[in-house]
């Protein structure tokens, strides 16, 4: 990797580009983890309201994002 070599210290890097890309990667991972957990909760019979409460968001927000699942 041309650029990845100096990415080892992403969290502490002073280069904004490195830090921002690290945050974007983390968001990507977070989105997938959220999808896994929401799906698991739905399979176990949780309501959208219960899921929203645990995620700390509104029921509308969680339903809009994961509703068709």
């Amino acid at each position: 990797m041309t650029e990845a070599t100096d990415l080892a210290t992403a969290a502490g890097s002073e280069d904004p580009r490195v830090g921002l890309r690290a945050v974007a990667a983390l968001r990507k991972l977070l989105e997938r983890l959220e999808a896994v957990q929401v799906r698991n909760a739905r399979v176990q019979g949780w309501s959208w309201q219960e899921i929203a409460d645990e995620l700390g968001v509104t029921r509308q927000a969680v339903h809009k994002k994961h509703g068709r699942r």
Binding site: A8, R21, A22, L26, K28, L29, R32, L33, V36, R39
Partner: protein, 176 residues
Amino acid sequence: MFERFTKAARGIVDEAVRQAEQAADVEVRPAHMLAAIVAMPESRAATMLHAHGLTVQEVAAAIAEAERRGGLSDEEVELLNGMGIDVAQVVDRVESVHGAGALQKRWGRPKSPRFSQAAKAVLHRSLREAIDLRNNYIGTEHLLLALAAEPGLAREILFEHGVTYQVLRAANARAS
């Protein structure tokens, strides 16, 4: 923009959509476009890739590996590693509870996959590459240049086979 695409370039875009559908993916990503290029061996871009030893199987394997860890590219894994997050460990733990491939599964996919932001960026970039080379059409070679230029999994797969943006630009300069 699409009216400037050559027939072969349109074929690549259509094939990328088909690749994404086949993978039950909700998005068409640049990696699907790369997979489409290697799958259509008669194009100019595919000829360049095959000259560098890139095969359909290798691209498919790289995409599957990235999908397993939630679509993260090698670079993104390294970035997260730099933050103290061991992606392999996260994937292992999620899969141990929720089953193999848990992070790649998507529910309720739409009728046809959308182009991801990154894939749209590649399409726009291909137009810029064509203008840059003073071509009045957008061909498979411009799509490939764009894939090699935009950060992400497709660029990484190309890089690992020695196919960099500079290498492709040099090849295009020789050809024209």
